[in-house]
């Protein structure tokens, strides 16, 4: 009953906000706490919502939400609400010059999520995307482009991709092409995009599959695991990059637990394995960086163990300890806080894809290399590599063909662009020695290189000229002329 009244109050407030006018900024009427701090922090943009749920991106704020702005430590703390005319707002992202905010929003409860942009004071709001489905989690890219998560379909066919468009919404196109329900995490300073997806990237999606972090370039080429540290069960997301290159993210023991948030974990530059910043249980739902030493985190209210609300706290990175309360609204959760401050422009990546190409090429240096086995090298004599794709509708596997594998383990093949592909390593009699489980892709005109079928970013290959490149009949064209249908499931770990 209490929740009913609070929801009603929140709804009434939203109506009041809408009546107040479209110019945006309204000061908070509800009870809120922003303790005084000796430290000075930048102003924050964040999301305030009566209810927060994890899981389906479009259902995170079922009772609506609003994008707010406040400065921690300033008393009294005027919280300014910037999106009163929306039913829900989420995913604030500040432009590189600190002057604008990109966010996703629902105008009405039944409306699709779209991406909007406004000035940091809430003025000059404009709709950026006009997606046929839901578009969320936008991030700024260099050169007046954005990247975001596009969700489409219903029921079992519901899936998400990572898309890119211009700042005016034109030229929207996906940059992920395989199963796994890709979502945007952040844009790294190197210009690459950090995304999350199910692990492994199987055709049959499941809401209970764990998720992990991948990197790819803004043109969709070069998909790679951020770290292949052997985590099989943990679910990772909510990632940010710190100024020193460390990636901080939320980690839960499994996908079910991740529905309620996660604990904080990180992976430093150079480290193969992740380290935990906070111990489970999962009490955090979002992170942002305030300065070199401090995060702003949304954490479950520690004073009320029964509370489902999240409040904003500082988090000291050096001591790995929770700092002071930055903001709390007793009737709502406060999440997704980001500093309203300029931040460095990522490196520009100059794409070298060919717009008219229908294929890409893949060069494997040594297909014996595999982290799936303790020795790091597959046993047996690999004779050929078979390439498969997924045929729609129905996600049926189709063999595109096979290519010779040289004695040094190298192969070089041309494959169709922008479709899911995976590889099977065959013995001399055609038996499957090892099979990749994850579906990946090669972009149009991409020359994709890899060390092996399941290589590690921690090991550079030998300096060796691949024998596959000495052949005059490579790259082997695997354009689908062998149209065998394959029943059954692949073997192998990945």
């Amino acid at each position: 009953m209490k929740r009913f009244w609070s929801t009603l109050a929140a709804g009434f407030f939203l109506v009041l906000c809408a009546m107040h006018g479209a110019s945006g900024a309204i000061e908070a009427p509800f009870e809120s706490t922003a303790p005084a701090h000796s430290q000075t922090y930048p102003a924050l943009a964040f999301i305030e919502a009566p209810m927060v749920t994890a899981g389906d991106l479009t259902q995170r704020f079922p009772q609506g939400s609003r994008l707010a702005r406040m400065t921690p430590g300033v008393q009294p703390s005027p919280v300014v609400y910037l999106t009163p005319e929306f039913f829900a707002a989420a995913d604030p992202q500040v432009s590189f010059d600190g002057s604008r905010i990109l966010f996703s929003a629902q105008q009405r409860k039944s409306a699709d999520w779209q991406i909007w942009e406004m000035a940091v004071d809430g003025s000059a709001q404009r709709q950026v995307t006009h997606c046929p489905g839901d578009c969320l989690e936008p991030k700024y890219l260099p050169r007046n482009r954005i990247v975001y998560t596009a969700v489409s379909g219903t029921g079992a066919r519901r899936s998400s991709t990572v898309d890119v468009c211009q700042m005016d919404g034109e030229g929207a196109h996906p940059i992920t092409f395989g199963p796994g329900n890709f979502q945007v995490e952040t844009v790294l300073r190197s210009g690459r995009i950090l995304v999350s997806a199910e692990s492994p990237l199987l055709a049959s999606g499941s809401p209970h599959r764990s998720r992990t972090l991948f990197t790819l370039r803004p043109d969709g080429s070069g998909l790679a695991l951020l770290r292949d540290d052997g985590n099989s069960g943990e679910s990772r997301g909510g990632a940010i990059e710190l100024a020193d290159g460390t990636i901080v993210f939320l980690e839960a023991k499994n996908a079910t637990e991740s529905s309620f948030g996660g604990h904080l974990a990180s992976v430093r530059q150079g480290a193969l394995r992740t380290s935990t910043l906070t111990r489970p249980p999962s009490e955090y739902v979002s992170t942002g960086q305030m300065d070199d030493a401090t995060l702003v985190v949304a954490r479950k209210n520690s004073a009320h163990s029964a509370s489902r609300n999240f409040d904003l706290y500082s988090f000291d990175l050096a001591s790995k300890s929770l700092g002071g309360l930055l903001y709390q609204n007793a009737r709502a959760s406060s999440v997704q806080a980001v500093p309203l401050a300029p931040h460095p422009l990522p490196e520009i990546y100059w794409s070298i894809l060919h717009p008219t190409a229908q294929t890409g090429r893949i060069l494997c240096l040594d297909s014996y290399v595999s982290q799936d086995v303790a020795s790091g090298r597959l046993a047996g004599r690999i004779a050929r590599v078979r390439v498969l794709t997924l045929q729609q509708p129905g996600n049926r596997e189709r063999v595109l063909g096979d290519a010779p594998v040289e004695s040094d383990g190298s192969f070089y093949a041309t494959v169709p662009a922008d479709v899911p592909i995976r590889f099977e390593l065959l013995g001399r009699t055609g038996e499957v020695l090892h099979a990749q489980r994850s579906w990946i892709w090669v972009r149009n005109g991409e020359d994709r290189g890899c060390q092996g079928c399941h290589d590690s970013p921690s090991l550079a290959p030998a300096n060796h000229f691949p024998l596959a490149l000495l052949r005059f009949d490579t790259p082997t064209p695997l354009d689908g002329t062998l149209r065998a249908q394959r029943p059954g499931q692949p073997r192998g770990n990945r």
């Binding site: 100059w350 550079a460 030998a462």
Partner: protein, 661 residues
């Protein structure tokens, strides 16, 4: 690993109790007086202001080599661009003396008694002997071609000088001042070190041995027995190039020789640079043999990378072990970083890696996180590094900033930065030079221009598998940048009409795989590259006259008729394509029959012949290891000039003439 800057930690900048702050300030002030060397300033050095006006290169100091007095109170610095040697008082951190030496001083050594400095002058092919106290030049000692690294023996009787361009080592009798012996080194010997027991001089060679380009490079650590003054061992260091400074850990820390290197993957297609790991950087850890059992097989060579999985520390240059053996510091001259190695952890890793895993260790990008305890951000292009005798401080020469960073090894932070007094205005050429040595423009910081063009513009001597139009085709030899002004077009296919095209978006897209340079930066870079001059050529006599052999070779080069009197077609005469009017190139592409099945084109840009003696290997793909091979192995149809009628003696004469260009 977080790179730490000179700025104090964030926590230290937060407001505090003002009374406590004043007390702390007073305490720090007292400590600053008591602690030596004094902490002059923790602020990063000034970046300098951009200047549009012309500032001669010689105005900049460019500190590149250092040595320290035995008591640690005087730091001697060779400054290559200004032809100066400076003496800095480490307590006051002021330059107290300076003296002009020969052209381009690049190495410096102190006699065992601390009374005499020896400074190698690369461009004047000599060594300046200086009184270390008065800073008066005593005499100039003639040595070989391009001297860089040098050291005396333990008694101070013999000076060993690595002649970089001559590929040899001069041994100078310091009593008479005369070179009495010259030993063959590897390829481009640069830096040397005397072993702790004085029995050996170690010489690190910058480039790999000249060898077939389809094999991984093998570099050499040349070991000289100081008692017999002979080469005792030529130690293979496989898979690496660009070995530079050498330090020897104390026996208590394992006694390893540590030598920075670059470990390229040039036989893989360049497309792999976008995965990382294409150019890796690390340390060779070489375990010397006991003196009684010398020989290459008695040196155990291990290699470890200093890079992280997704961040590279390009162009290792200086290395120094602290006297207590606890730390080894390695400068990454392309990343402006000093990596601090815990030598006990490194030793533990080396000793606990089974032999079967040693090769893998050389390629592991996660091992540095086990033994590198800190990364310190220093000035631009850090080169040499030294540790103080008490192991409390380290000094780093920042070549492109004209400064020295002082590291407090107790606190593991930059204590101060010594301004050596170079111009504060930064000329266009200097800006370009800074860009040339900076790897931040490449994906993950894997490489700078200088990575493949070491020694300020040289070719690295490797062939590279570029990816266009097809992987594995058109593998091409790297080319030198010395004296290329006026030799356009560029690239072996001659497709780049100027350096702006060569170094602009194409470099960003296909080589660096990152943002690359802005148009203004490209202009700065081109200004610098155009300024790179050929080294002084010792094959020319001082009066400019050719020797008999050179004159005979010249006649062959300019001949119109074969040995039996037949007229040579103009297109088959040496001087037609290698025109003396334009740096001995016609600046067009020619098919001279050198293309292989793996080339997609048959005509290649005619390379200029100026400085050809220093450009091994030869031809577009580096197949010809020696000049003679061009005619005896790769010119079967006389398409590359008529040479089949020349005998061995005539070819030798031709080579003698080409060396003079």
């Amino acid at each position: 690993m977080k790179v730490r800057s000179a700025s104090p930690a964030i926590g230290g900048s937060r407001p505090r109790n003002p009374v406590a702050g004043i007390a702390a300030f007073a305490l720090v002030a007292v400590m600053a007086i008591l602690v030596r060397p004094s902490v002059a300033s923790a602020a990063p050095q000034a970046a300098g202001t951009d200047s549009g006006s012309y500032i001669p290169r010689s105005q900049y100091l460019s500190p590149v080599a250092m040595t320290l007095s035995a008591d640690g109170r005087r730091l001697y610095i060779a400054c290559e661009d200004s032809d100066l040697v400076l003496a800095v008082d480490t307590r006051t951190q002021k330059v107290e003396r300076r003296v002009r030496v020969g052209k381009m001083p690049r190495g410096i050594a102190l006699s065992p008694d601390g009374k005499t400095l020896y400074v190698s002058n690369e461009d004047s092919n000599d060594v300046t002997e200086i009184d270390a106290e008065t800073f008066q030049v005593r005499r100039t000692l003639a040595v070989g071609w391009g001297p860089v690294g040098l050291t005396t023996d333990r008694d101070g009787n013999v000076l060993y000088v690595a002649n970089t361009l001559g590929d040899d080592i001069s041994l100078v009798d310091l009593k008479s001042g005369r070179e009495f012996k010259r030993l063959e080194a590897g390829h481009y010997p640069e830096y040397v070190a005397l072993s702790r027991d004085g029995s050996r001089v170690y010489v690190a060679n910058l480039l790999a041995r000249v060898a077939p380009v389809d094999r991984p490079p093998v570099s050499e650590l040349t070991v000289i027995d100081t008692s017999r003054q002979i080469v005792a061992a030529r130690v293979d260091v496989p898979g690496v190039i660009q070995m530079r400074h050498i330090t020897e850990l104390p026996a208590s820390a394992g006694g390893y020789l540590l030598v920075p290197f670059m470990r390229p993957k040039n036989l893989n297609p360049l497309v792999q640079i976008q995965q990382g790991w294409y150019l890796t950087h690390g340390l060779a850890a070489i375990r010397p043999a006991a003196a009684a059992s010398d020989g290459p097989k008695n040196y155990r060579v291990a290699e470890v990378l200093l890079d992280d999985i997704d961040r590279y520390y390009a162009d290792g240059f200086g290395v120094a072990a602290t006297p207590d053996g606890r730390w080894a510091l390695v400068t990454a001259s392309g990343a402006n970083v000093v990596s601090v190695v815990d030598s006990a952890k490194l030793r533990h890793l080396l000793q606990n890696t089974p032999p079967a895993r040693q090769q893998e260790l050389a390629n592991r990008l996660d091992s540095a996180s086990h033994f590198v305890v800190d990364r310190l951000l220093v000035g631009r292009n850090p080169t040499d590094v030294l540790a103080s005798p008490d192991s409390r401080f380290a000094y780093i020469a920042n070549r492109m900033d004209d400064t020295v960073s002082v590291v407090d090894l107790g606190r593991m932070r930059i204590a101060s930065t010594i301004d050596l007094g170079g111009p504060k205005e930064i000329s266009r050429q200097r800006r370009g030079e800074r860009l040339f040595f900076n790897a931040s423009h490449c994906h993950q910081g894997q490489m700078a221009c200088a990575t493949c063009h070491p020694h300020e513009g040289l070719s690295d001597g490797l062939a590279w598998s570029l990816e266009t139009p097809q992987l594995g085709r058109d593998v091409v030899e790297n080319r030198t940048l010395f004296g290329i002004d006026g030799t356009s077009p560029f690239k072996w296919n001659g497709k780049n009409p100027n350096l702006e095209t060569q170094d602009g978006p194409r470099t960003a897209m296909y080589i660096f795989r990152s943002q690359g340079f802005s148009p203004k930066q490209v202009n700065d870079l081109v200004t610098y590259i155009d300024s790179l001059q050929l080294p002084r050529n010792p094959h020319l006599t001082s009066n400019g006259h050719l020797t008999d052999a050179q004159a005979r070779g010249r006649a062959i080069f300019f001949r119109d008729r074969t040995a039996d009197g037949r007229l040579i077609s103009p297109l088959n005469r040496c001087y037609t394509c290698h025109s003396p009017l334009t740096h001995y190139t016609s600046r067009v592409s020619m098919d001279v029959g050198t293309a292989t099945h793996y080339d997609t084109i048959h005509a290649f840009d005619v390379p200029q012949l100026t400085g050809v003696a220093t450009r091994q290997p030869y031809l577009h793909n580096g197949e010809a290891l020696e000049l003679e091979d061009i005619w005896t192995m790769f010119n079967p149809e006389d398409k590359h000039g008529i040479t089949s009628d020349l005998n061995k003696a005539q070819l030798n004469d031709l080579i003698e003439f080409l060396k003079t260009l």
